[in-house]
């Protein structure tokens, strides 16, 4: 008999697990998510929540089914199991539920593709450009200056005074504004699209802006790209999200979102690469 009781307890526990999972998730989402400071924060987050909501319905349904079946069909010495011969009719309910899931899958895929295409394939022409370069264990920042073009870089040119390896002979490099790794904050214009050119000098890092719900790996040997429009002024953190060595956990950066005029004024006060390099 003890094992019969196990079945009843298990049924109860499964229901509790499902409800506690959903309830705690709801509470967490309502109270503990980081601020949203960009258009993508809303888009990505609402997609995540949509998928989670559908998942929660399936999760609760599955646990309720299990709980009911375990309680209803728990062992009884006087009863025999239903004997169903091997019949294809059994396939129908399974395939029907699988088809519902398939429909949801296609919906997720459709919504995901929209967000994805925006973030990667539709970079606005007029976006503000900034380059961010990962190295163990900080981020270097570069603005293109008045010409809007970044000077060419080559790791063979890296030196203490030229940590990003910018080519001084490239005319586009003269007005670049450089903050060596760990020595500057990332200033971004409010309500204006920003495209990030993401690079790395050594190992793989990942440029992660939790407040924008975005990240992009920084891969040595190539430049990756991502963009968003900051929608909320203030000072926020960004992070490295890819294990990059023993200091990975402290590869922190700070970004400042401010009105475009303020940003331009601040930029005009900075020394250019041409001024710092003799």
């Amino acid at each position: 008999m003890a094992k019969r009781r196990r079945g009843q307890v298990l049924s109860g526990v499964l229901i509790v697990i499902a409800l506690a999972t959903v309830a705690s998730a709801l509470w967490w989402i309502a109270h503990r998510l980081p601020d949203r400071i960009a258009d993508t924060a809303h888009e990505v987050e609402s997609l995540i929540l949509f998928v989670l909501a559908v998942a929660a319905v399936f999760l609760v349904a599955a646990h309720l089914y299990l709980a009911y079946a375990l309680w209803r069909f728990r062992h009884h010495p006087q009863r025999q199991s239903m004997f169903i011969g091997v019949t294809r009719k059994e396939w129908l309910p399974v395939l029907a539920i699988a088809a519902v899931l398939l429909a949801f899958d296609l919906t997720f895929d459709h919504r995901s593709n929209e967000v994805w295409a925006k973030v990667f394939l539709r970079v606005p022409e007029n976006a503000f450009r900034v380059e961010i370069t990962g190295e163990q264990f900080a981020w270097g920042i570069r603005y293109p200056g008045k010409d809007g073009e970044f000077g060419r870089t080559d790791l063979r040119l890296v030196s203490d005074s030229n940590p990003l390896g910018i080519d001084p002979n490239d005319p586009a490099s003269k007005d670049d504004i450089v903050f060596p790794a760990g020595q500057g904050e990332l200033h971004l214009p409010l309500n204006h699209p920003v495209v990030f050119l993401v690079r790395s000098k050594d190992v793989i890092h990942s440029f992660f802006v939790p407040f924008a719900r975005l990240k992009m790996d920084a891969v040595p040997g190539m430049t990756t790209r991502i963009w968003f429009t900051p929608t909320k002024a203030g000072t926020y953190e960004f992070a490295c999200a890819e294990l990059c060595g023993l200091g990975h956990y402290r590869m922190r950066g700070v970004l400042v979102v401010e009105p475009m005029e303020q940003l331009q004024k601040w930029l005009s006060e900075q020394q250019t690469f041409g001024e710092t390099m003799p």
Binding site: K3, R6, L14, I17, S24, W28, I29, R32, P34, T40, V44, L47, I48, V51, A56, F58, L59, A62, L66, A69, L70, F73, H75, H76, Q80, S81, F83, I84, E90, W91, V94, I97, L102, D105, F108, D109, S112, V119, E135, L155, V203, I204, S206, F208, P210, R213, L214, K215, D217, P220, G221, M222, E237, A241, L243, G245, L246, H248, Y249, R250
Partner: protein, 586 residues
């Protein structure tokens, strides 16, 4: 197999474990014990990791740590580089050297010949060789802790250039070379095993054992072996190329970089290439673990529900669908890796489509419960626990398959929570279910039900307590593989949750002691098991417990019916073994 069959004196267990055997049951048990030993090491590493995350040692030193690790934790403060070595080795050990080894090597070896009615594997010597190489792989892997710079610390995914250049971090020296050698040895071992399992299932089935009469367990082990054979060698090639990059200055994965104040000039190597090679195995690897778990649970549920497997053929088709799709989804680990963003479209869709065959298999198993006469033995409790966890993990994972969600969730604790629910916990529950279920067949004794029940309840609450909150941490943006979250203002408020998770993890780890005690106590004192204590239909239960050398008497069993003839209406017993001939009238 025309073996001259004589009765062999049974050797004591320790002799069977400590000899160069070519008997599949001995090799199965050798894998089984070695893998459990590796699991204990991996679990211990998890304990240290959780200590650091729950009770950061740089804030509050833990003197006992410096006693355990004089170099890794001087003054009771865990060094970050040592923390990363723990994380890397924990992942590698648990995924490959515990779960893969115990599922395919342990249960696969022990069960396949018994379930198909063979006397041994197709290639017994190759089988022995596979285990010996695996054993060497374990030693080489653990040696990493003893070399200068410590064990590999670049994560279990070992992304170059971090893993390729010794300048990149302390663990990327000899520790990384040993890690790559250990993985290469492991793959050699696993490939020999896979070849053997596939050949055995295809060629050594006894009379009457058609493919659609195979128990679900054998189907899953068979498919997992096919996946292993197709995908593991790709990682071997990757490991070899990485070794060349490390030691001979080639440029497969390492471009020219500037690291630790030094220019390292290479060609145009591409780090993302390694990720493709790694995940080409790495993702199917998940299914190499999950498929056998589904197989065990399917069989255990049918046995204890005393009911025919619901839509068995559809479930087998579902398994084949999972196995096929699992080879086409690897790049979903790389959505934000810098690969061509157009690749996200097919890989995202294919990934979430896996949910369709996966749900099909689970629904068939769940359907088996309906109308049953369910017995809540310990293996059944763990099987039900598996179903709960696999649903939670599966639906939690759906959000990771959707590419745009990974813009936020990739490389956060959401991922850590997810794969620990699905791959860590649910597969672990299936391994426990299988151990409690087949223990009588392996050792001729029953495991203790009362201890088993406690083990189950504490484990169930433990895994939910540990891994569910991790999903929430990920939603809040907590990155994985960080030594401490206290460096970030936006993460500081999550420290109490991490402490809670650590406490839950300690309870979970402590609860596993109940299993260890139960295991060894039952080995000596457990109730004697009959040949078929659970009243199961499949062939392994139609020979003595434990089975003799050669598995069967002078004649191989013949099979007359499918594996799930439970509760037939006109039978005196509530099951008919596969060996029972059909009545003359049919």
């Amino acid at each position: 197999m025309a073996h001259e069959h004589t009765v062999v004196t049974e050797l004591p267990l320790w002799r069977r474990l400590l000899r160069f055997s070519t008997d599949h049951k001995d090799i199965g048990l050798q894998y089984f014990f070695t893998a459990w030993a590796m699991a204990i090491i991996g679990g211990f590493l998890a304990f240290i990791i959780r200590w650091q995350l729950g009770f950061p040692t740089q804030v509050k030193p833990a003197p006992w740590l410096s006693w355990l690790f004089p170099h890794g934790a001087e003054g009771g403060v865990l060094k970050p580089e040592f923390y990363y070595a723990l994380v890397t080795m924990h992942g590698t050990i648990m995924v490959f050297f515990f779960q893969t080894a115990i599922l395919s090597g342990g249960f696969g070896n022990f069960l396949i010949p018994l379930q198909i009615g063979a006397r041994d594997m197709a290639f017994p010597f190759l089988n022995g060789l596979s285990y010996w190489v695996f054993w060497a792989a374990c030693i080489v892997l653990l040696l990493g802790f003893a070399v200068e710079g410590g064990a590999a610390a670049g994560g279990w995914t070992a992304y170059p250039p971090l893993s390729a250049l010794k300048e990149a971090m302390p663990g990327s020296g000899w520790g990384m070379t040993l890690w790559l050698l250990a993985m290469a040895l492991f793959i050699v071992s696993s490939t020999m095993g896979s070849l053997n399992y596939i050949t055995t299932v295809l060629n050594l089935r006894t009379k009457g054992m058609t493919m659609f009469r195979l128990p679900f367990t054998t189907w899953t082990l068979f498919l997992a072996a096919i996946l292993g054979l197709l995908t593991f060698p790709v990682l071997t090639a990757g490991a070899l190329m990485l070794l060349l990059d490390r030691h001979l200055g080639t440029s497969f994965f390492v471009p020219t970089v500037h690291i630790a104040g030094k220019l390292i000039e290479r060609g145009n190597g591409n780090p993302i290439l390694w990720q493709h090679l790694f995940w080409f195995l790495g993702h199917p690897e998940v299914y190499i673990l999950v498929l056998p778990a589904l197989g065990f649970v399917g069989d255990i549920v049918a046995t204890f529900a005393r009911k025919p497997f619901y839509a068995y053929r559809l479930a087998v088709l579902g398994l084949i669908g999972i196995a096929f799709l699992s080879c086409l989804v690897w790049a979903h680990h790389q959505f934000v890796s810098g690969m061509n963003p157009y690749l996200a479209f097919p890989f995202s869709l294919l990934t979430i489509l896996v949910s369709v065959p996966f749900a099909t298999v689970l629904l068939c198993i769940a359907g088996t419960l309906w109308g049953g006469n369910i017995r809540f033995t310990t293996p059944m409790l763990f099987a039900i626990g598996f179903l709960s966890l696999v649903v939670t993990g599966g639906f939690g994972g759906l959000s990771l398959g959707v590419a745009a969600n990974d813009l936020h969730l990739h490389d956060t604790y959401y991922v850590v929570g997810h794969f620990h629910v699905i791959m860590g916990s649910s597969v672990l529950f299936a391994i426990y279910a299988a151990t409690y279920f087949w223990f009588p067949k392996m050792f001729g004794r029953m495991m203790n039900e009362r201890l088993g029940k406690w083990h189950f309840w504490l484990s169930l609450f433990g895994v939910y307590g540990v891994f569910l909150p991790m999903h929430y941490l990920g939603l809040s943006g907590m990155m994985r593989r960080i030594y401490t979250l206290l460096e970030y203002d936006f993460l500081k408020h999550l420290q109490p949750i991490n402490t809670f998770i650590s406490v839950a993890a300690f309870v979970l780890i402590a609860a596993q002691a109940l299993f260890v005690v139960n295991f060894f106590w039952s080995l000596k004192r457990g109730e004697q098991a009959s040949a078929n204590p659970w009243g199961a239909t499949t062939l392994e239960w139609q020979t003595s417990s434990p089975p003799p050398h050669g598995n069967w008497g002078t004649e191989l069993p013949a099979v007359y019916r499918w594996a799930y003839d439970y509760s037939p209406p006109d039978s005196p017993t509530d099951f008919r073994p596969q060996t029972e001939p059909l009545p003359a009238s049919q």
